[in-house]
Symmetry: C2
Amino acid sequence: MKLEQDILENLFTELKELLGERFSTNLSSREVHSKDESYHLPQLPDAVVMVHTTEEVSSIVKLCARYHCPIIPFGAGTSLEGQVIPKSGGVCLDFTEMNKVLRLSEDDLDVTVEAGLTRRQLDAHLRTSGLFFPVDPGADATFGGMAATRASGTNAVRYGTMRENVLGLTVVMADGEIIKTGGRARKSSAGYDLTKLMIGSEGTLGIITELTVRLYGRPEAMAAAVCDFDSLEGAVNTVIQTVQMGIPVARIEFLDEVQIDAINKYSKLDYPLKPTLFLEFHGTHNGVIEQAKMVEELAAENGGGEFQWSDKEEDKNKLWRARHDAAYACMALRPGAGMWATDVCVPVSRLAECIIATRKDIDDTGLLSPIVGHVGDGNFHTVMLIDTDNQDELDTAIAFNDRLLERSLSMGGTITGEHGIGSGKMEHLIQEHGAAVNVMKTIKQALDPLNILNPGKIVAIDGV
Amino acid sequence: MKLEQDILENLFTELKELLGERFSTNLSSREVHSKDESYHLPQLPDAVVMVHTTEEVSSIVKLCARYHCPIIPFGAGTSLEGQVIPKSGGVCLDFTEMNKVLRLSEDDLDVTVEAGLTRRQLDAHLRTSGLFFPVDPGADATFGGMAATRASGTNAVRYGTMRENVLGLTVVMADGEIIKTGGRARKSSAGYDLTKLMIGSEGTLGIITELTVRLYGRPEAMAAAVCDFDSLEGAVNTVIQTVQMGIPVARIEFLDEVQIDAINKYSKLDYPLKPTLFLEFHGTHNGVIEQAKMVEELAAENGGGEFQWSDKEEDKNKLWRARHDAAYACMALRPGAGMWATDVCVPVSRLAECIIATRKDIDDTGLLSPIVGHVGDGNFHTVMLIDTDNQDELDTAIAFNDRLLERSLSMGGTITGEHGIGSGKMEHLIQEHGAAVNVMKTIKQALDPLNILNPGKIVAIDGV
C-alpha cells in the first residue's frame, strides 16, 4: 500500500515549506533510515525529516494525516525486530537532533529529556551529579526508542526496565494532538495509565517526544566480578538461587563459551572459554561485601571458580563495555552476515532447562549462535549469524526460532523480553496472547483510525 | 439513565436461571452494595449476583450487554471515591465468594489468585511459606479491587504499588470475551501493556477475575520503630533526606499529632501527641542495623527523639495494625460522620511545603482532619470527618479539597496517589491531564461501546 507519487509531491511541498533543509528525499539519507540492526530486509522511506520540537512533530503529523501518509519515528536505528523499517514507505521522523536535557532535579531524582537523547549522552550529562539512569540496552539507543520498545538491559534485575523507570511522557497522537501522560509524582491513580500504554507501543499509538525518567543516586560502593563455571547448568543455577534468595544483585549476566570467544576476540580480552557470569553489586560498603560473599558461596556450590574482581573503575568500565558490545562481537564472528537475536524470557525456575534445551537445539542445527542474557530476569538471547541471501540458512533459523518461542511459551514465558514485536513477531504475538491481540487492535484502530503511525508493526490492520 | 422495569425483568429472569440463589434483588443485599467507605452518597443497584468463576462472569456480561445493563464489580466495598457505587443502577457483581488461591510458585516468587481474595486471606495462606505480598492499603481489600484502583500502601516506597506487582491478569471484556494479559515472565515486550491499562481502570474497561502477582521472600531481619518530632517539618525533612540518600527503608509513615490522638484512642496506645514517623527496615541483620543507624542520625538532626523499637513480632504487628486502622480511628473521632480522605502525591522535594500549607489550610477552615501518609512516596491524606447532611460543612470540605488539589498540581503532583478517580474526581482529572482525558475517553468508547462497565467513573461518556 504505497501512496501515489502526485499525492506525495503535494505533501512534500508542504513539509519542505515547514522544515526547509531538514526535509530530505535524498537517496543516501533514505538508505540510512531504511534499516535497523537486525536481519530484517531494508525498505526505503519516501522522505526523511529531522525534527526539533514537539510542536513541529505535531504539525508534521497533522500534514501526514491529511495525506494518509505513514509516519515512522526513528532514533538510533538500533531496533532488533524491524521496528523502524518503513514497511509501507512514508515519512521517517529522525529525532537525533532533538536531544536536549530539559530539566534535572537532583532533589527528586528525576530528569526530563527529549526523545532523541541517547543513554550515553545522558550519562555524560550526569557525570558530575552523583546520579545515574539504570536502563542500558547493548546499543547506545535513544530514550524515545528505549521507551517505545520497552527496553531493558543489564541492570533490570535490580532497577527495572523502561516500564518501571518512566514517570511521564509527552506524546503526539495520530491527529497531531499533544498530550502529557503521567507526571513527576512517584505514584498516581489518576485515570488510565497512558504512560505504560505508550511504553512498548513502538510508535504505533503515538509519537513520544519528551520523557521524564527516574534517576538513582550512585551507591556508596559498587563492585564488579567475573566468574567462570564448569557447566552451563552450574552458572544458571547460581543465578536462579541468587534470585530466589532475594539477594539484591545489581547485574548478573550469563555468557556461554561461544559468546566469551566472541568478546575475547572483539574486545581483546582473555577470559577462559567457559560458561561465565558477569556480576555487579551495589550498596553500602558492608552491604556489597555481604552480597558478594553470599553469591560467591552459591557459585562455589555450583562448580564456579573464584570471583575475578575488577577493582579499578577503568577495569569495571572495560568489562561492561565488552558486555554491551556482545552483539557487535557476535557480528564480527561472521562479517557480512545478518544478525538475528532471539529474545525469550521465562520464569526463573525454568531457566536452566530452557537454556540447556536451546543450546542443544542450536548445536543440532549447525548454526553459529552464541548465548548471552540478562538471566536474573529469566531473559536470554541466542545471536544467530546468518547469510540472509541463503534461503536454506534462513529457513533453518526460522524453524529454530519457532521452536524456541514455543519452548518459552510452554514454560510460562514470553516471546520477547525486551526487543519487542516489530514486524518480526506479529504472528507469534497472537500465539502468546490470543484474544488479547484483538483488544490491542481495537485500541490501535481507535487511536490511529487512518493507520498512519508506524503501520505494519505489532498488530496488522486491514492486512497492513 | 435507569433501565425500564420490564427490560430489567427479562434480564433478571435470565440471570436467575443462570445463578439460582446467587442472584438477588433483596433490599438488604442491594443496600450493602450501594456504598463504599467514603462520604459519597449511596445509590442502590437493581440486583446483586455472587460470582464464582470467570466463565460465569463472561456469561453475565454477555447477558447484561444484550440488555444494555450497567455492571458494577464489587470486592470488599472499601473504595474511597465512590468506585463501587452504582451511579446508574444495574447489576452488582460481588466477588467475595470467588477467592481461591489458584497456584503458588515458591521458586518463582509468584502466585495466581481469584479477584475476590483479600490481602489478609493471602497473608494467612502464605504464613508458613516464608513469602509475603507487600501491597497493603489500610482496608482488607480484595486483589481485584486493589488492582482496579491501582492501590498501594505502606510498603510502596520499597516494593512498589499494584502497578509494579501485578504480572498478569484474566479479564472479562465488555462483550464477554475472556482475555489473558501479561504472564509469568518478569518482563516482556510483547505488544501493548494491557495489564497496566487495566490496573487503575476501576472496572470501566474490563472486569478483572484472576491475577498473577509477585511475592517476596521474608527478609532475614525486619525491625520497626516509632520516632516523634518537635515539628512537622522535622519529621517530613527526615523522610525527604532518607529518600534522597537512597536508603532502602521498607516503610516510612507520617502521622500528625491529630492522627496520633485518634489512634491512641482507637487502638488503646499512648504515643506522645507529636508529629511522628512509623518506620520499618528490611534486609540482612547487618543491613537493617546500618539502615536504621543512618535514618536515626537524620532524625536526630531534624529534632527527632530516640527510636522506640518494637522488638517482639507481636508489638510490631500491633504498631502496623494501628497504622492500617488509621482511617477507622479517624471515623471514631466523630461517630456517624462521613469520611472524606484526600489523597495528593507530590515530588518529595515539595512535600514539607505542601503538608505545612495544608495543615494551616485545614486549621483555618475549622474542619476536624488528621494528616497521615505514605510520605516516602510523597503521598499523604487529610481525613476529613464531615456531617454530610450539613451543606455548609460539605461546601467547606469541597473548597478545601479544591485548594489542596490545586496546590498539588502547582507543585508537579497528582490529584490522587492511590485512591483513584471514581465519581469523585472526574472534573479534577481533566484539570490534571487535559487533552489526555480525551484519549482515555476514546479508549473507553472503543473497549466498552455500550458504556455498561461501571459507567460514570473516571471519564463521562455522553454525560454519564
